[in-house]
Symmetry: C2
Subunit: 210 residues, 2 copies
């Protein structure tokens, strides 16, 4: 039975499984949890395959065979996060929905539990092409999913039909990422509101029209 | 004579010196050049105090005494860069000036010579509080200097007098940094234009008014 499960479930095929059933998926999830815990404690520069193997309880040779480097561990954690479900806001107002999305971004960096992990994954992407690709994939997927709030606003007549929804999402979150990751300036509620209001003003002016 | 020069010139006092005259300033400049060259070749994760000392030609004990860590080397390189003069655009049109500033940001990351160094410094900031503080200082200084193009536009009547100039600068560059450093998506000339047009539309709508 175990052999069959291993043969039919590659890590990629099980990527969409949130609560994994097969042994391969369970191993991958255990390694992800250990990776995130290590990143939270030590940052990306402190991440080692060795310590993840020990923490995960997965056999060391298995971990080393599948995830050869700290970058591969970070990239795979991002790959699994990409498949995680997340709460897409739907308040009936684009301004409210964008505000919720913006608040989610800020919380991801400032929450005491998730903040250190989020920062460590961004640091991993700044250092290794493998993690950078995984972060790009993660974020472009999120942009595409979040675009639904813009599509609904277009249907309600709040925005021009030609609005490039993903560009509006990028414009909303970019000023927050700039403060959170680049200038490391504090982000006040006014900064979040300003990011949303500026993106909306540009959208209404047709700047994001295709 | 040498002793006198050392006693009167601290690295901080000579920060404003572009072509340094004293021995301390010359040492600092040599270490900066070696740091930037090492960052270009090896990235921040490959930066060591040892290799910078060798490359700079400065006595190893001097380098180790003043710059104890790779983070200190990266932070000091940013500190010196902050004092460097740079070309502030003045084309007589805010749109043109913002476009020049945006192009400078993109070029800093995509130019074959400066790109690897810029990325390495951002990676350093993502990993160490010391470099993060130095990058924040560098960028907030640049925002303050670049605000001059907005002040001139306000004087020409292009924008509301209450416009927060530095917020408009941040809004202009943030979508570019988001693509360059976070999503690592390519930045097309259209992306640069859109960043400028969106920030301007928001500014005209009064979003950045204090």
């Amino acid at each position: 039975m175990k052999k069959t499960a291993n043969a039919t479930e590659s890590p990629l095929e099980s990527a969409g499984t949130v609560r994994p059933g097969g042994r391969t998926a369970r191993t991958r999830e255990a390694v992800r949890r250990a990776t995130l815990a290590e990143l939270a404690e030590k940052g990306f520069s402190g991440l080692t395959v060795e310590s993840v193997a020990i923490r995960s309880g997965v056999h060391k040779t298995t971990v080393y065979r599948r995830w050869r480097t700290p970058a591969a561990l970070a990239a795979d954690a991002l790959g699994l996060a990409e498949a995680d479900p997340w709460p897409l806001p739907d308040a009936g107002s684009l301004s409210e929905d964008l505000r919720s999305l913006a608040a989610q971004v800020v919380e991801g960096f400032t929450d005491p539990l998730t903040g250190p992990v989020t920062r460590a994954l961004v640091a991993a992407a700044a250092q290794t092409p493998e993690a950078a690709l995984a972060l790009r994939s993660y974020l472009t997927t999120r942009h595409r999913q979040a675009a639904a709030v813009v599509h609904r606003a277009v249907e309600r007549g709040e925005l021009p039909a030609a609005t490039d929804a993903e560009e509006l999402i990028r414009a909303t979150v970019a000023p927050l990422y700039y403060r959170l990751c680049i200038t490391t300036e504090p982000v006040s509620p006014e900064d979040t509101t300003r990011a949303v209001t500026a993106a909306l003003a540009a959208a209404r002016a047709g700047v994001f029209s295709r």
